[in-house]
Amino acid sequence: MMMKLLSGDSPRSKMLSAVLLLILFGLMFAPFLFPGTRSLDTAARICIFIVLVASYDLLLGYTGVVSFAHTMFFGIGAYGTALALVNMGASYSAIVLGTVCGALVAGAFAFVIALFSLRVKAIFFAMMTLAVASAFLVLISQLSGITGGEDGLSYRIPREMTPAFKLIKEKVLGVRLNGKLITYYVVFFSSLCLFLVLLRMVNSPFGRVLQAIRENAFRAEAIGYKVVRYRSVATILSAVMAALAGSLMAIWLRYTGPATTLSMDIMVDILLMVVIGGMGSMYGAVIGAVLFLLTQSYLQDLLGILQESLGSLPVVSDVVSPERWLLWLGILFICSIYWFPKGVVGRLRGT
């Protein structure tokens, strides 16, 4: 049963299994284990980014295609849901309709991009997606009449999903059972399902073909797989999954703007998460997202302490200043590409 859920793709390492179980447990009981708005927000972001990063890994790690348009698809999903909620009011049907439309539009966009550029060199595809995604970002920022421009969109979601809604009056284990909690679990279980679906996809006959294409596209074609078609489908699937993650983000934040969904900074973050966690393994996405977001939220505190103790040295204190955490992750990222290309997961598996 367990193996079937994991699609036969076991972590293959005691250490990795333990870490994954810890993460699962931590996220499942996050509201009770780590009470507080900030930690719940971090937990929800982790759930959503696991899906987002895993869907990116489908493309980068499994198919060997570098795309910089992943945040565009993430944004399309988020804006789809957001626009539906803004225009149709806070209803469940708006959420469903927005999510479905977002996913469809993302898939269609991905199809067009694939049509144009997947026949050519990886570099070409990377440049093209970067340009298209940036133009999309600018377009969204400028169409302020529809998208709210730089300010983004704030909207209401159904009352049952807001903090104002109380499930029961009493606190359970010191935690108030309100609508926010419900939303968290909606996010958590949706993410879990999406992740398991992705895990199934990469372990399906289709997923194996993607790996074959990554290993040797020429030969994949010569045993009867149409490489362009498979790459296109992978691009579309990855885009749809990213859009669904975007919808979850829209619901969780009750706000959608360029900075939270479309920005190139997020694209870089995703890249860092995939590579540091481990390309070509869905579990790498989990580890990468957890590691990165925890660092983002809490390492700054740590570096802040470090900086205070080094306060007197001018350059050193700049380099370890809390705002410069990305510098260190960037260096870690480059090092991992060179020295442990299978990332943390590869390390834990001892390969």
């Binding site: 093209m128 133009a135 480059i334």
Partner: protein, 342 residues
Amino acid sequence: MSDSLIKPRIERPPLSEVIEAKAPLFLVPVLMLIGLLAIGSGSTWLTLTAAGLAMGMMIFIMASGLTVIFGLMDVINFGHGAFISLGAFAGFTILGLLGGWIESPSIALNLGAVLLAVAFAMLVTGLAGYGFERLIVKAVYGQHLKQILVTMGGLVVTQQLIYVIWGPDEIVLARPTAFQGSFVVLGAAIEKYRVLAIAIGLALFVAMRLVLSRTRIGLLVRAGVQNGEMVEALGYPIQKLFLAVFMVGCALAGLGGVMWGLYQETITAHMGAEVMISVFIVVIIGGLGSIEGCFIGAMLVGLLTNYTGFLIPKLALVSTILLMGAVLMWRPQGLYPVVKAH
């Protein structure tokens, strides 16, 4: 020796092929004409065209380094944008120190300050390019996937280092006095700085073409683009050539950075990454590895951005994407591909 078989013979290509080959040359004039028809007003059109050409020239300066590096080494440096920012910051540091020169009404002092700033920026970015090539790029020649990732990592790290050195805030600096204001030509206001940018861009384009066609280094670069192995077998260390070209490419990014910074009068660590979008579009339109294609592509993007920026402001960047799509439908490899994208 029977001469019949080795008799000199070169086939003349049919006229249609000649026209097809030259067709990209007409794109810029055609776009200008369409712009004139769409805008209607001659003086507005002239202002926009000057602005477009100036913008195109600056993008060309930044893109030329990237495309030459790609042609020769098969490396696309996604961190190229970091060198644009780095150059801008280095140049602005010098301009900041020479504040008196900039504010003085003397053209000589103004120009001197700008030249010093440019020289320093190119020096810094050239040296940074040396480090970048040795530390980051050298180990991933020929591995595109890793190359994209690793140079992207380099971009992140360099941006952060800029923050460390210059602080997180943007720097605002007015242009030297002599380059403020505009000329009035045929009733159209043309900013002085744009004229300067066009002049520098043109000079660079001509200089690059001359270096490539007339000098030994240029000969080596052109040969290396085609067959690096044979260049080595003729006794030239191609790794050194790679390094030199990489440094020059980065120095050009630095030059472009200073010019772009002076144009915007504001610089941020992200500015390079932002301009890179146009740079990539230009390189794709021009065809990977081609200086001529890059030049035409840059002019097209510059002009189109300014025309649509005037006509339908919200679609300025999107229009260049559409242009890219159109060019790729016509020529899937770009206008003048030196390196096949397959």
